[in-house]
Amino acid sequence: MHPGYDEVLVRLKDHLQKVAGKGKQFSDDTDLVSQLGLDSVKVLDLIMEVEDEFDISIPMNVLTEVHTVRDLAEAIAQLRSRH
């Protein structure tokens, strides 16, 4: 697990809650597309907002491996540790 992962996860969940709506329940293992009710276009929009939130760019090559909330948090933490 990369340094800062826990902090990233908390901020990411806050952001996802706003996008998905207050009534939507999700965990670290929730699939962004099939379980969070976001279609692939909305996920790409969401990713761009998350990139701004963390001031990073997530390469598309990395996104192919991202399915769950946890995957996304790990990818963000890894990219932030590069800087």
């Binding site: 790409l44 761009m48 990073i56 760019s57 390469p59």
Partner: protein, 399 residues
Amino acid sequence: MSLFNKFDQLARDRAALLSSGFDPFGAPIEQVFSPTEALINGRRIILAGTNNYLGLSFAPECLSAAHEALDREGTGTTGSRMANGSFSGHRALERELAEFYGCRSCIVFTTGYQANLGMISGLTGPGDVLMIDADCHASIYDGCKLSGAEVIRFRHNDAADLKKRMRRLGERVSSTLIIVEGIYSMLGDRAPLADIVAVKQEIGGYLQIDEAHSLGVLGETGQGLIEEAGVGDQVDFVVGTFSKSLVGIGGFCVSNLPELDLVRYVSRPYVFTASPSPSVIASTRAALKLVRDGRHLRERLWRSARRMYRRLADLGYRLGPEPSPVIAVMVDTREQALAFWYGLFEHGIYVNLVFPPAAPGDKSLVRCSVSAAHTDQQIDHICEAFAALRPMVTSATAS
């Protein structure tokens, strides 16, 4: 789980399409009468979705050049440009395209799709960065995959977003290729090229523009957006296609950078395919002259495009953000778009039907392309059909 499970949904969607009549994705064109009229499914139809922007597909100069090359050099080259497939015509077309753009050199590819695949995968690889507009064409996305470089998207036509993302790269900008398009194929909007060039000038990197839909359409001599924006000398690589205004099939890249000549040797989509047929090369050379001298065609094209855009906007259709020869009507659902497409066909009009994810966002498109060869009467007929069908897309009111 079998190899074909992933086709289950597609098979159901296709069956539904075919039950409506014939498949809009591959409408059978039985006879072509002119650049703007054909026989489809037994009916004489106005073509309003062909990308034949200057209407040159029956130009006598192109036809006679193709016939002559066919008789002189045969039907095909049967080989790669790197083997037996570089005829004198291929080299001549490369010289003429380089001269047309005032560039040092040019590479001709077998298709426009391969021009993007070949340039992107030839120029970049693992360790490099590709910074692409989010609405770029599939050929650009596929070229990115083939390259193995890191791929980052910036928000469509947003130079500030590009700048922010370029800044994040730090020293890696020196191995970064930015990619944009002159006119975007789905909504017909132009890149803010001067702003994008300014970002490149300030932060660094290289810039490639795909002029597939803007070649022949924009600029005094039809070079495309680089000419209209007056920034040709600031763009590193210009890619284009022969299959739209140049009415053949093939693609190219021109550049002033000497490294372009080396791309031939490392570009797999260039090396491992047969070169374009001699007749295609000959007709493209003839068409290039007509494009360069075709100011009157561009004027006619833009007059019809603006008239049709204005009329459809007045009818309340939700369109792309600016008048263009590509006029896309946005529709909320696939079902509405499909019904609308059949409705237009019943009125004797062929357009393109586009479903997500081929269209930006989550909308479906009924996409028209205007040609300089369309008569005023044909444009009127198309507009009247859109007026008659307006109640079918009640949700598509202009925002």
